[in-house]
Amino acid sequence: MIEIKNLSKSLGNKQVLKDIAFNLPKGGISSIIGPNGAGKSTLLCLMARLLSLDSGSVAFDGLDIAKTRDDTLAKKISILTQSNAISSRLSVEQLVMFGRFPHHRGRPRLADEEFVTIMLELMELTDIRFDFIDELSGGQQQRAFIAMILAQDTDYILLDEPLNNLDMKHARNIMKTLKDVADNMNKTIILVIHDINFAAHYSDYFIGLKQGEIIVRGDVDTVLTQSQIKLIYDIDVSINIINNKKHIFYYS
């Protein structure tokens, strides 16, 4: 369970988040949606202690992030931020193994290696596991980073735009994998995601953010309605049901 209480954050002179408060139960995929500049990424970074809180508190299963040791938190929550312009020349396998660092602290054991092998397989990276990441395409890099985060094997996984740079096939496969990981390995996954139809298809819970405030949250039937989307994004859309899933048509 994630508990967030009256969280606020200013960057420079601008207040990015105002008095955010919500609880998220364990399990499933939650998507944070909203227009550019709504504070989605900032919220995710604050939850993962990459930025410091101005006020309020964040706790995962009762562990307050401000009071818990970093190495303990690294086994509880993981985060992948949006830009990972990495200058390091590591092989895919080495990168994914660094995801195990909180567990092995520099001494990888056989169990860690097995875990890495599974994650490489899951992210379809086995064929390129010895390639250096700085020589891969953007999409391959993104998959390698997601594999690293999954290798960290934390209860809570925070991903900022995980579908960046991915083609249709890999975007779909990764969302399927995430859904699978959430349901079968009892993980709680929180996404910042722009592709509203991917969110509609795979998410269990939605948080709609606008100008630093939560304006709506709930399940797909509560949040993904014409009126709520108008409220969040300020555009008119039509919503169709295709194969029992909502499809939001916003192209014209």
Partner: protein, 318 residues
């Protein structure tokens, strides 16, 4: 694998032996083995210390170069392009003026403090540079080094210590004798210290967010890395003098082939650093025999060529 290790061992042994027997004082293998007292003295008092000093200096400089690159997230920095070396020279100068009676060790500690401050200032400046232009980073570092160096030059001029300053600034192994280089063994210990935190250093090289995500104390590891860099730099400036480019060229060369995972790369970086510095020092002794070209000149010339090559060849991922 075994073959590679054997070849590596043989090549450094050949270089090391060559280094033992190249010099003005007459020393040859047969004479030495016959037990000539004079030859034994040359060997123990001069040649052996010098060869050890070269290997220790080369490998330590290569290691601190790569640490600096991880800490600054830039492939073109090393102690001479980050103000660290000049700060160390300034530190030794100040120590020599304020406490002339103190031991070399004490002066070295003062120099360590100075180079820590110098590197820290450099990192502070980096925060204000646009990350889109990685070449700006070493340029700013060289300028910072220039400013600190000119302060040192002024002080040395006023205190009539210009000659000493030039000894610290231009690295040269010809002055290495038994009793005057042993402090360099400390760099060996510091290099092992760096190897113990190899994983942590690799992770901070991946950026602040990933480090925090993996539960690393980013500041603590950065500080630890800078302390190692500053101590090694101070020791080398105090005993041998500044040698540019080794910390820059060697890691970038090794990185092409074995990548950036320091657990794997660090021993290779140290090895290649030791070998190439030996090669440069031997060349320096032979080029205008019986006179010597300082190793810093040899390394400076070959290193700057290699640096230009790296710059021109560099791909988008810097």
């Amino acid at each position: 694998m075994l073959l590679k290790y054997t070849l590596a061992l043989i090549s450094i042994l050949i270089l090391f032996t060559t280094s033992l027997f190249v010099g003005v004082g007459e020393l040859n293998i047969s004479g030495y083995l016959n037990g000539s007292h004079e030859q034994e003295l040359i060997m123990l008092a001069s040649r052996l210390p010098r060869s050890f000093a070269v290997v220790l200096t080369g490998s330590a400089l290569a290691i601190v170069g790569v640490i600096m690159q991880k800490v600054a997230h830039n492939k073109f920095v090393e102690p001479t392009t980050a103000g660290t070396m000049d700060s160390a020279a300034l530190g030794i100068l100040v120590a020599s003026i304020l406490m002339p009676q103190s031991s070399l060790m004490a002066k070295m500690l003062v120099a360590t403090g100075f180079s820590l401050v110098g590197s820290w200032v450099f990192l502070r400046i980096l925060k204000h540079l646009p990350i889109t232009n990685p070449l700006l980073v070493p340029l700013v570092g060289i300028m910072l080094g220039g400013v600190i160096g000119s302060v040192a030059g002024f002080i040395a001029y006023e205190a009539d210590l210009i000659q000493y300053l030039s000894i610290w600034i231009s690295g040269d192994f010809s002055g290495i004798l038994r009793g005057r280089y042993e402090m360099l063994w400390l760099t060996f210990g510091l290099s092992i210290g760096a190897y113990l935190i190899a994983d942590q250093l690799t992770i901070i090289g991946m950026g602040k967010n990933i480090s925090l995500n993996l539960g690393l104390n980013y500041r603590a590891i950065t500080s630890l890395g800078l302390i190692i860099v500053s101590m090694v730099t101070a020791i080398i400036v105090a005993t041998v003098g500044m040698i540019p480019f080794i910390g820059l060229i060697i890691p970038n060369l090794v990185n092409r082939f074995v990548g950036d995972d320091l657990r794997q790369a660090l021993p290779i970086i140290a090895y290649v650093g030791g070998c190439l510095t030996l090669l440069c020092d031997i060349a320096g002794r032979l080029i205008i025999f019986p006179y010597e070209v300082p190793v810093s000149t040899i390394v400076g010339v070959t290193g700057s060529l290699a640096f230009i090559f790296l710059l021109l060849k560099r791909d988008t991922n810097v």
